[in-house]
Amino acid sequence: MRYIPNTSADRDEMLASIGVSSIEALFADIPESVRSCFRPLGLPPRSEMEVASIVSDMADRNKPTDAVCLLGGGIYDHYVPSVVGNLLSRSEFVTAYTPYQPEISQGTLTAMFEFQTYVCELTGMDIANASMYDGATAMAEAVLMAERIRKRGAVAVPRSLFSHLRRTLDTYCWATDIQIHEMNYLPDGTADWQSLPEQLSAVVVQTPNAFGVIEPLAGLKERIGDALLIVSCNPLSLGLLQPPGAYKADIVVAEGQSLGLAMGYGGPLLGLFAAREEHLRQMPGRIAGRTVDVDGKTGYAMAAQTREQHIRRQRATSNICTNSALCALATTIYLASAGSAGLRQVAKLNLEKAHYLADRITAIDGYELAFAGDFFNEFIVNVPGDATEIHDALVQAGFAVEAPQALQSFGLDRVLRFAVTEKRTKNELDRLTRVLGGSR
């Protein structure tokens, strides 16, 4: 086998030195009654070349690049600069373990520290951890953290949460006996906080929300009493939009995929998690800190580890251990490459192009924006006639658009959702408009 360097001569020598006659003897401690049940998979070994061919064929069956992607709903088709993939593939990053031995992990630790700085600066928060699995588990952990702090057993979330975030949150809240109050949305697509219950551990808000609408956050913190304000956002939009920290958010979470990660059929993703400093001891996840070595030289190490499972065990703030370190590094390199100017530029491209498409579509008879609220790079339109037929026509014409059924859970009928990133060209958007019957 290609990945096992021992020769049979090595093995014989090693067995002799252990003092057993066969490899089988090394497994004598496993009960025979267990071993006799064993059944193989019926899978032959294959050469690397054969495996490459089989797996490549499967990849080819997907053909994502055959269609112009207008899918969104929390995951977006953004451009990933070459420098990200290239630096990320260095095996010193890829094949290293969690930096428990800081002296030989300064690369990973320094990058974690940079990542935390970037997340704090983007979100306008005091502290950030080194990553969560994805935006959904980041939100769920934020709710659990708020519950540890306030202990009210209930949270409020808007109905306009992305479906994948809500599904995960439902599971975590069911398991921890936290009641979820769902807040409906107003005609303009923003959340309706009118009948907000009292005695909540947290109020969760997603901006832009599942309709693409930017939630007005000014004054929200003031009206929710001492419940924690948890804001989930799109970090790419923060190149342009006011950060949640400016609205006194207590915890900010986000899906980081838009900053340098492949869509990868939804994984791996990257959970961003930031909070106000006073909540450090309740934060889940790993955190890198700056310190000095015995010679006074600056270095980095994992900080605040007494919150974590390997020390605190059942009293840990979370069970998270392995997280999304390499994805966090991708985002760090992406932000280093883009800088303030690049991030602002890409955010503007998204904003302008999405509005261009929305304007073109709504210029067609019978099409109108479903919501009047401001949007960033994603929007929902009411369509004339059968949304499924229109969807199918777009798919036929080479566009990837989400089936309208996906939006039924929001109480929306005869609608389509479009996400437009910097990758979409005017030609593509005009062509889409023509398929819908427009003049361009």
Binding site: A52, E114, T117
Partner: protein
């Protein structure tokens, strides 16, 4: 080490993204001024060479499996085949949106379906979900399954999870997160679960037990069938932490030992890289009793079409945004496909051979609290090696000799523990060299202990002050100062 924020800003930036190709309307016309950022971002604007140099420099301060021996117990730091990486970046996988119509994602669904089948077979269990994305995440999903199972059966009083005292820290944390309380069960003098202590702990408030097989001492629980039978007889369920699967896959199966939930760590056993702490993948296999509760969506094959099934009324719901870490699953799939049954078996045989070989040699120099046949790892103790020498000193000195230290101070049942897992991807020559280094360090500990106290001296930094970091935490670069 300087950070990216210390790099001097370049005069010439931009060039990543094209100019706008639609008529510009201007931010202020498109969104209310109240939504627009008022404080400009303080991210450095850098040229690409600056970025490339900085992260290349950082990479050289790291130590990966490609750099040298990495005997980190419980973590299975085996070689990560390059083929896996090549498969994961194929555009048909990496460019696929998770909300793509299933007609455009048949290849991805086929891969998930077939990998599910492989893992089901390796575990010898009824079904598998690929959704959990880390070992601890698999544990949590497993604890959710336990909870659902007893909720459906109306056995609301089952609130306790039993844990051997050798358990990974994630086990109690996962159980607690799912609302269970934890009862520790002592091990006997051979390092195995004490059956009498187990009997005493079992009653009708027990939801189940979390086991690691072989346990974290590298010892197989020879009484495993009695353990799982006792738990089942008391009405409980058995969770198996799969961190140590590398010692028996292809030879025996957790399903045949009485497991109800078993989690895989694809980033350990199935050779996908650790990435400095993730992304991993922690699929769970379950027994018949728990199939209906698995996370949604499930991947099904109907009329030669793969589909995502969301209609599972008893499911615990979802524990991740979409279908788990798909690109990690691609790597594991390529690995299993290449190994086949023969390869899977050879992996564990060589992992166990390597561990026993090292153990028999190192026990001549270091204390081995639990002597006997080990599986893929074993635990030494640094206690008593030399006056004033701790396991930490030994670990740090190993760095100076170019090897990654083993896992230290775990499991908690061994004082000054040194937990060594060589894996099958190391040669006898590497093991011999490591043993020699361990012997040199032991000699140094007696003859020149200062060498160990001062170590490491050949890394980019020396021992770091972690107490100061904990007391007065600096957790980000102060910007704009």
């Amino acid at each position: 080490m300087s950070t990216i924020f210390d790099c001097r800003c370049s005069e010439k930036v931009g060039g990543l993204f094209p100019e706008l190709d639609v008529p510009a309307q201007g931010v202020e016309r498109l969104i209310d001024a109240a939504h627009v950022r008022t404080q400009p971002l303080r991210l450095p604007d850098l040229s690409e060479p600056q970025v490339a140099r900085h992260y290349t420099k950082l990479s050289k301060l790291n130590f990966g499996v490609d750099d040298g021996f990495y005997p980190l117990g419980s973590c299975t730091m085996k070689y990560n085949p390059k083929l896996n990486e090549a498969m994961a970046v194929l555009p048909g996988f990496s460019g696929l949106h998770p909300r793509s119509d299933v007609s455009r994602s048949q290849g991805a669904l086929q891969l998930m379906f077939e990998l599910t089948g492989f893992l089901r077979g390796i575990a010898g269990m009824a079904d598998v979900s690929l959704q959990p994305v880390a070992g601890a995440h698999g544990e949590l999903a497993g604890m959710f399954l336990f909870k659902k199972y007893f909720q459906v059966r109306g056995e609301h009083e089952r609130k306790r999870i039993l844990l051997p005292d050798t358990a990974h820290g994630t086990n109690p944390a996962s159980a607690a997160l799912a609302g269970f309380s934890v009862t520790e069960v002592a091990s006997d003098e051979t390092g195995r679960i004490d059956l009498a202590a187990l009997d005493e702990a079992l009653d009708d408030t027990v939801a189940g037990i979390m086991l690691t097989v072989p346990n974290t001492l590298g010892i197989f629980e020879s009484d495993i069938l009695q353990v799982t039978e006792k738990v089942h007889a008391a009405g409980g369920l058995c969770y198996f932490d799969g961190a140590n699967l590398n010692s028996y896959m292809g030879k025996t199966r957790p399903g045949d030992m009485g497991a109800d939930v078993f989690h895989f760590n694809l980033h350990k056993t199935m050779s996908t890289p650790h990435g400095g702490g993730g992304p991993g993948s922690g699929p769970i296999a379950v027994s018949d009793a728990l199939v209906d509760y698995l996370p949604v969506p499930r991947v099904r094959l109907e009329n030669e079409q793969y589909k995502l099934d969301w209609n599972c009324p008893h499911s615990i719901g979802s524990v991740h945004s979409f279908y788990g870490n798909f690109l990690v699953a691609v790597r594991a799939f390529a690995y299993i496909l290449q190994l086949g049954d023969v390869g899977l078996r050879e992996v564990s045989e060589n992992a166990v051979l390597n561990a026993n070989y090292l153990q028999q040699r190192l026990k001549k120099t270091y204390a081995l609290p639990y002597d006997g046949l080990c599986k893929h790892e074993f635990v030494l103790s640094g206690k008593g090696l030399a006056e004033g020498i701790s396991t930490l000193d030994i670990a740090k000195r190993l760095i100076d000799y170019g090897v990654h230290p083993p896992t230290i101070y775990f499991p908690l049942t061994v004082k000054e523990a040194i937990m060594i897992e060589p894996t099958e991807t190391e040669s006898k020559a590497t093991l011999d060299r490591f043993a020699e280094i361990m012997e040199i360090v032991a000699r140094e500990a007696k003859e020149n202990p200062q060498l160990l106290h001062d170590a490491p001296v050949r890394a980019s930094v020396r021992r770091l002050d972690q107490t100061q970091a904990a007391k007065n935490p600096v957790l980000k670069v102060p910007l704009g100062e």
